[in-house]
Amino acid sequence: MSCHCPGGHGSRRDFLRVGALSGLGISLSQYLELKAMTAPTSAKVQACILLWLDGGPSQVDTWDPKPKSAFKPISTNVAGIQISELFPKIARQMDKLAIIRSLHTEENNHGEATHYAATAHRPNPGMKFPSFGSIITKETGHRNNVPPYVQVMEMPKGKVYDEFFKAQFIGAQYDPMVIPNPNPLAGKGQIQNDVKAFDVPDLSLPESLSVDQLDDRRSLLKLVDQTYRRKVERAEFSSMDTFTGEAWKMILAPEVRKAFDLSQEPEKTREAYGRTGFGQSVLLARRLVESGSRFVTAGGYKGQAWDTHYDNDKLLRDTLGPSFDQTVSALIADLDQRGLLESTLIIAMGEFGRTADINLDRGRDHWCYCWSVLLGGGGIRCGQVVGASDEHGAYVADGGVSMGDVFATVYKAFGIDWTKEYMHPIGRPIKIANSIDDLTGTPIRELI
């Protein structure tokens, strides 16, 4: 079930336990207590990184090469699998990756499709659905004081899109901590400018506050609150106390803020990932997973960067392709070297694919009926392709897969029961892996 990669993992995996410093950077986990809360101990995968490709990448130009694409297929380091010539570096890591070419979903507009990709449900004005990142966070629990679910950065299309990735009725504690975007509009073409540092306002004590000042504040708060709380004891107050305790721990523990501090990474590493919004977001995702986060969504593209209605080929060739190739291959190599590849599941997807035919603006339009998703890392059988599209890459020819099946696969990799249902307050049971026609998704057999 694990990825068979050449070269030894052994020594790298050990260093996490023993605490030796690696050549690439200081291991964060040596600072942190590993506190198992609700994680199933036999689970293979401990964390997931979702690379969010806002706008919907074209499948025939990337993972499912077809004659109508302007890009030629190239061989990979797995016999029989070819991908687009846009990704030469990734092609050499195909043994650590898997491709689904037969994903069929039901929404063809950005908003609805993003909601669908995050929850596997079609949007409904009467009810909100929890995202699969929130579900995984809830089912696996904290590993230590690091926020378990983080979104790097805000969704480029705005807060409405952030909503789709939240926990909704299962509880605000499973919402992602969203890192604000320091400079959403700057950058050439589709790619956002480099991010020098991520600001995490949720965890940043104002510089003017010293620790003893905090103590005074705490005791004064206790004094002010006590008359009222003596009068009116409420269960909500004690749960707020618990949260306040956790909050203090998160803020006062330097290792938590360090996890978000990219300046701790050597220049070499930052260069390797790529000096772009996407590159640095993915690097931060690696740091967070290493520190103990469970689910990190890495964005960093400009709004709908992959939504190539115009000049599809030019945009892919000039900016989107090369930066993706660089960043993702760097991530895989980095995780591998740190011994994190087996315990980290990677997903790279957007909200849909694109049309098999070029339109009048030299572009491709939205297409949800058959598209591709890239997976990698731990918990799944790598070095293979699941399903097939037809000769043009427009319709599923074999092995159709739903978003619910993808979720079920990820849940299974974590050791989560994918047939679970949560009860919505309105009284309707919600599947955590929702497939088409009200069926439950099933883990994809080729992968897990």
Partner: protein, 756 residues
């Protein structure tokens, strides 16, 4: 069986009949089974009484084991089909899945699945529902032998169930037998006590036997639901703790108090004392205007000896500009002003409409009709403004029912409602009223109108007709549905010129509208609605005080749906003005209004309160677009609140109006983090020109400053302990630092963040 002398005479004449009668009697229990049963009354009664069509079993959305019955025998024709013709049920299609095997066997009736399964002669996941040879068994067997008749459609049907007693108050070991009477459409009455299904919704409080005998289990409240084909009724059960020897006299100020206190008396719960002036002042200011009273007003109110000062305060608040601000915000939430489909250019219009309606105290039924039937290019019609991501017309319809009738019909969109009496056909019949909504672009502006013919004619120069919904089609049967009211009446053709106005008139004249509206308003002043959640009226969720709800609805209607009158009635009641401090008898009460329950402030109100307290207004801006709300705009005054980034408001549950607004106000980790490091909690404290800055510069003493801050934040004077604590801190650190910390502690406290 007893034989009277009269019977003996008959016996001599009719001994063959006697043999038959005795034959039946030998099969077992007290009541005689009818000789010829029909499906729609007798068989459906058994299927309901034995729980077969319960929503957990065959009456659930998908049925069970391929066998589907309508919940509570709502649709006997369909039930008949599934039993007599057979087939496996599919949710999303009207076609049965093959194979299609009848569940009755006309040639060998004893071998019918309908008899084998419920008696467990064949494996049945639902277990044994009745025994072989019981009355139910014999009824069904004879019915099959008779050829399984459906029954006479024209026969008199039960119109309603009468439950007596419908209010039951029991001591801890008490028992009460319920009697159920069925009233038929031909005027007849029948005792149905042994023919209905009883369920307690709270067995920890009260249990009920299959024959309707209620027994108390523990203290509290329960409802016993009573079900008969097509009908649901309930009895309210209250189990009280040992009777109080001297229950105090509790004065009433208006009819609300009468109902509330009577029920508390029956439950042996003593209401709390009246709130202190501090408590009342802060609470009523927040509930009526969303604004904290300034320190001077607090001092004035606390010092006043006027016995009518509370009523006078209420009048001042009702006529204040802050009242208009706050209730514009509340209704903007409810009517989803600024939701996704409204264009930035026009979103000011619905907001203005709401504001004007609130400012002129427009009757609420008029507001409702203006919104439901909105036409043209105006404020309320912006709700129907189309864009690429428009909500389908049936969803628009369902939303009106949720907003104005407090009923959630949405489940009935795809299948008959799982536990209520709404069918999918009824849902689409209502949706048909919205099926003709069309819009035309005239010089960019979208004009909304109904296009009854659905012909999409060009409406003139520059007009571009966009989305037009023409047919309301039941997605399961694929047939078109005509506009039809819930009571079954189809809207006649000649009245279809203004479909939505017809629906609006019917909806707002109905009792449901008055009751749902007062219930929703009630929910803004108490921790819950009389029906809770406030927009979830259904038979399985009965009101805690049905008579109070009905009385409030009547009063609202009789006063022309005047919102200010309703608010005044509520806040002037003693019930509203009770303290939040519990006593021994009421500390566990969460639903009977024996005291005020603390409620967390909404995000916008909390942010405004912090801004007012610190004297530093919030700046709402979108830096990337260089767009800013006018300085001094309050959070409740934002027209498009979700537009402006605000970590604080997100963390406190600011809703997006793209779907029905529901706020989650539970405490959370992000809130805790924000209190510790959020800019709202740190940057406003010492800002130049803010309240603290001005107080410090004014040269006031420590004590004076402390008092001022407490009055502004909590509408009360500080205790000596609190003053001493701050003064001690001020001597250790600087005066400024200590006061800053006090201000931080005040805004971070539970007392500040809650309405109590």
């Amino acid at each position: 069986m007893q034989h009277s002398s009269r019977n003996r005479e008959l016996l001599k004449k009719a001994w063959p009949a006697l043999v038959i009668v005795l034959g039946f009697a030998s099969l077992g229990s007290a009541a005689q089974p009818p000789k010829s049963a029909d499906f729609q009354t007798d068989i459906e009664e058994i299927l309901t009484k034995r729980g077969c069509n319960d929503s957990h079993c065959h009456g659930g959305v998908k049925g069970r084991g391929g066998f589907k019955l309508s919940h509570n025998a709502l649709v006997p024709h369909e039930d008949y089909y599934w039993i007599v013709k057979g087939g496996s049920y599919q949710v999303l299609s009207a076609e049965p899945k093959a194979p299609v095997n009848p569940r009755i066997d006309l040639k060998q009736p004893e071998k019918s699945l309908l008899l084998l399964k419920p008696t467990s002669l064949v494996a049945h996941a639902g277990g044994e529902r009745f025994k072989v040879g019981s009355d139910d068994y014999v009824t069904i067997l004879n019915w099959i032998r008779d050829g399984a008749p459906y029954g006479d459609e024209g026969a008199a049907k039960i119109e309603r169930l009468e439950v007596s007693p419908s209010y039951v108050f029991l001591p801890p070991n008490g028992k009460q037998q319920l009697r159920i009477k069925g009233h038929f459409s031909d005027g007849r009455e029948e005792d149905l006590t042994h023919r209905v299904l009883y369920e307690s919704n709270n067995p920890d409080v009260a249990k009920v036997t299959p024959d309707g005998s209620v027994s108390a289990a523990g203290a509290g409240e329960a409802a016993v639901l009573i079900r008969n084909p097509g009908h649901i009724a309930y009895a309210q059960i209250g189990v009280f703790t040992p009777r109080l020897a001297n229950y105090p006299h509790v004065p009433s100020r208006n009819f609300i108090d009468n109902y509330v206190f009577e029920k508390l008396r029956n439950l042996n719960i003593v209401p709390s004392q009246l709130s202190t002036d501090s408590e009342f002042l802060r609470r009523v200011c927040l509930d009526v205007t969303g604004t904290l009273p300034p320190p001077d007003r607090v001092r004035e109110f606390l010092a006043s000896r006027d016995p009518h000062k509370r009523e006078k305060l209420v009048e001042i608040l009702l006529n204040s500009p802050e009242y208009v601000d706050y209730w514009t915000f509340r209704f903007a939430d409810l009517f989803r002003v600024g939701m996704g489909s409204q264009s930035a250019a026009t979103v000011g219009m619905p907001w203005e409409w709401v504001r004007k309606s609130v400012a002129t105290n427009k009757p609420y039924d008029q507001m409702a009709r203006e919104r439901i039937a909105a036409h043209g290019y105006n404020g309320p019609s912006r709700y129907f403004e189309h864009s690429g991501e428009t909500a389908a017309f049936e969803k628009k319809m369902a939303e009106q029912f949720r907003v104005f009738w407090g009923r959630r019909l949405e489940c009935a969109q795809c299948h008959n409602h799982p536990y209520e009496a709404w069918t999918q056909e009824q849902f689409w019949g209502l949706a048909a009223f919205f099926a003709k909504v069309t819009s035309t672009n005239w010089n960019v502006a979208q004009v909304i109108f109904d296009d009854p013919d659905g012909t999409e004619d060009n409406y003139g120069e520059g007009a571009k007709t966009s989305v037009s919904f023409v047919k309301a089609t039941n997605p399961r049967t694929k047939k078109e549905v005509e506009p039809r009211f819930l009571d079954g009446r189809v809207l006649p053709q000649q009245a279809r010129a203004d479909l939505r106005m017809e629906l609006a008139k019917w909806m707002t004249a109905h009792d449901n509208f008055a009751e749902a509206s007062v219930n929703r308003m009630w929910g803004y002043f108490f921790a819950r609605g009389i029906v809770n959640p406030v927009d979830d009226f259904r038979s399985g969720n009965p009101p805690t005080h049905p008579d109070l709800l009905a009385a409030l609805g009547r009063d609202f209607r009789e006063h022309g749906y005047d919102l200010k009158h309703l608010i005044r009635t509520i806040v002037n009641s003693r019930t509203y003005q009770l303290s939040s401090v519990p006593n021994k008898t009421n500390q566990h009460d969460e639903i009977d209004y024996s005291r005020a329950l603390p409620r967390p402030l909404d995000a916008e109100v909390l942010l405004d309160s912090i801004s007012i307290l610190t004297g530093v207004p919030e700046v709402f801006e979108i830096t990337s677009q260089k767009e800013m709300a006018p300085p001094g705009t309050r959070a409740i005054g934002l027209i498009l609140p979700a537009r402006y980034p605000s970590r604080f408001m997100d963390v406190y549950g600011r809703p997006f109006r793209d779907s029905v607004v529901e706020r989650d106000l539970k405490p959370s980790l992000p809130q805790a983090l924000d209190i510790l490091v959020g800019s709202t909690y740190t940057k406003k404290l010492s800002r130049e020109g803010g309240r603290l800055d001005r107080l410090l510069k004014s040269g006031r003493s420590d004590r004076e400053i402390i008092e001022e801050l407490f009055l502004a934040a909590l509408s009360r004077m500080p205790s000596e302990e609190e003053v001493a604590g701050v003064e001690k801190l001020a001597s250790r650190r600087s005066k400024q630092q200590a006061m800053e910390m006090l201000l931080w502690a005040l805004i971070s406290s539970r007392e500040f963040a809650y309405n109590h």
